[in-house]
């Protein structure tokens, strides 16, 4: 369903994608995995025809450069940072999207219910939380039930609970006629959602493997994300650094580099120092 041959993208003299080729069949879920700057988002933007490139990209046999409108009509896209017209309401945003896709307005309500935004129809987009905006982005992508879904770090701006809900929703979207392309740097998400991983580095595919093999083949470190009470985070960070851990602030908590066989030691140190652990999860 997606066929990419010799994809090369340069920004002036900087080669961002270097002769990338891969194909994805109907029913497959594939992750583009790599660190920041590896080229994941650029591939997605080329697939959408937002960037000029060398090589060829075909979606269901449609060359995106020759038939950009037809090709985009079978694609739903969730960008890394969802951006909408802040003055529009949730329903107006989806109505605009429906009009541009020539889809009946009846589907708007169904799609909003699918992402649990049915009770937020009249709310202006700028009044939505980050998580709700991400769900609205998902609704825009799902409108019209497109066979190809491109999801650029779809959980990056979500808290732990919202991320779980999003992963569950994405899992439910898999099907024999649908292609899911997800960019991510979270191994655990990749493991839950995809069949195949394309590992990228410096604009090239360096490995192609199953999600189960990714950690060992890429020799990835493990990180423990610990959610603490906001007033204790700074003190907890200092405590862990004094204990010799590599740790940093991250959103609602701390991100600590851990040995894969000794993850509990961080939690033990924090508990001994009487910090209240509200939640934790392993990131790789």
């Amino acid at each position: 369903m997606i066929q990419i041959e010799g994809l090369t993208k340069k920004f002036k003299k900087n080669v961002v994608l270097n002769n990338i080729s891969f194909s994805i069949d109907a029913g497959e879920a594939v992750a583009l995995w790599g660190t920041n700057g590896a080229g994941k988002t650029t591939i997605i933007r080329c697939i959408l025809g937002l960037l000029n490139y060398e090589g060829s990209i075909e979606l269901n046999g449609l060359d995106i450069q020759r038939y950009p409108k037809d090709a985009r009509s079978i694609v739903g896209y969730v960008p890394q940072e969802v951006t909408f017209y802040g003055d529009l309401t949730v329903a107006e945003t989806l109505n605009l999207s429906a009009q541009l896709r020539h889809i009946s307005q009846d589907q708007v309500s169904q799609t909003l219910d699918l992402v649990s935004l049915g009770n937020q129809k009249g709310k202006k987009v700028r009044e939505l939380s980050g998580g709700m905006q991400q769900r609205l982005g998902m609704a825009v992508a799902l409108l019209g039930n497109p066979p190809i879904l491109l999801l650029d770090e779809p959980t990056s701006s979500l808290d732990v609970d919202s991320r779980r809900q999003m992963v569950s929703l994405l899992d439910s979207l898999r099907g024999p006629d649908r292609v899911l392309v997800i960019t991510s740097h979270r191994v655990e998400e990749v493991g839950m959602l995809v069949d195949r991983v394309l590992a990228l580095e410096d604009g090239q595919i360096i490995d192609e493997c199953s999600p189960a093999d990714l950690s060992s083949r890429q020799n990835l470190p493990s990180w423990l994300h610990v959610v603490l009470r906001p007033d204790e985070i700074t003190e907890a960070l200092q405590t862990l650094i004094l204990e010799g851990f590599e740790a940093q602030l991250n959103g609602y908590g701390l991100l600590v580099n851990v040995d894969k066989d000794d993850k509990a030691s961080v939690l033990n140190h924090l508990q001994k120092a009487s910090f209240e652990i509200m939640d934790f999860e392993v990131w790789r």
């Binding site: 025809g49 960037l51 269901n60 046999g61 409108k69 009509s73 079978i74 694609v75 003055d87 999207s97």
Partner: protein, 286 residues
């Protein structure tokens, strides 16, 4: 095997209409647009109130002091309004990320550009009508009504100037990555057209003793000067008010000079629109 699913047309008026409706809705909520509209309307009314009744500047009665003042107002305010609105539109969409939202739909870049142009043109039409409508209303209330024909002709020419400078503004918008840069360039272009077009030509004429044909060409190629030229001729005034270039225009072209000036405005609009379309179609859009 190659399969095509939808066969969407390259250019769809439905998509253009959807985009332009969105732009009009946004203009209604844009404080800058309202500021320009209210400012233009207030100045037009102030000119009408301040004008001396029944006094004509030169030529026939149609080109009265009020009409002349309205021409000056339009040549200053309308290009400022349209250049800045046009310039910050696409670049603003790119800046805020909403351009990606639009372009990930089955819509072509030309449809986005043309829909945006039409939406802004419609909004500006309302602004021009409001400004001249208010001027006409107040002049009628003072028992010194401006002729309806004069108002309509002036409003029509003002809208044409608005479309021309809007296209120029959108051309600036597609070549710049940031709305703030586009706004700066638009202001510079406005200053160049308004001040250099008028004072610059006068100064260089004195300094270089420019031949009158060249002086006329330099004047008429500037869309703002072309608007002024067209307004004076269409409103039945004497081109003497435009100095040696005006006299040369009358002697050389007679009454067809208005068509020439209007042709220059339309030419600028087409050229700017084509350039904007070509640039927007080819470049990376994020």
């Amino acid at each position: 095997m190659k399969t095509r699913t939808n066969n969407l047309s390259i250019f769809s008026l439905n998509q253009v209409r959807t985009i332009s409706k969105k732009v009009i809705r946004e203009a209604r909520r844009d404080r800058w647009f309202w500021l320009y509209c209210i400012g233009f309307m207030a100045l037009a009314v102030a000119i009408t109130i301040a004008a001396v009744p029944n006094q004509t500047l030169t030529g026939s009665k149609g080109f009265g002091r009020t009409a002349a003042s309205l021409v000056v107002l339009v040549q200053l305010v309308v290009p400022l309004m349209t250049l800045t609105l046009g310039a910050r539109y696409i670049s603003g969409e790119r800046d805020s990320g909403t351009l990606v939202f639009l372009l990930c739909h089955p819509v072509s870049r030309l449809e986005v550009l043309f829909g945006t142009f039409l939406g802004l043109a419609g909004s500006l039409f309302a602004a021009v009508v409001a400004g001249f409508g208010a001027a006409g209303l107040f002049s009628a209330l003072r028992d010194t009504p401006i002729e309806v024909g004069v108002l309509l002709k002036l409003a029509g020419l003002s809208w044409l100037l608005a479309l021309t400078t809007l296209a120029l503004g959108m051309c600036i918008s597609v070549v710049t990555r940031r709305a703030s840069t586009a706004l700066g360039i638009a202001l510079f272009v406005w200053m160049a057209l308004v001040f250099l077009g008028d004072l610059g030509i006068m100064g260089s004429t004195v300094a270089t003793r420019l031949p009158v044909e060249l002086l006329f060409l330099t004047a008429v190629i500037n869309p703002i000067e072309a608007f002024r030229l067209a307004s004076v001729v269409v409103l039945d005034g004497s081109l003497d008010v435009l100095g040696p270039a005006g006299i040369y225009a009358v002697n050389s072209f007679g009454s067809t000079v208005a068509f020439l000036a209007i042709g220059v405005l339309i030419g600028w609009m087409i050229f700017s629109s084509l350039a904007a379309g070509l640039i927007f179609r080819r470049g990376d859009q994020i």
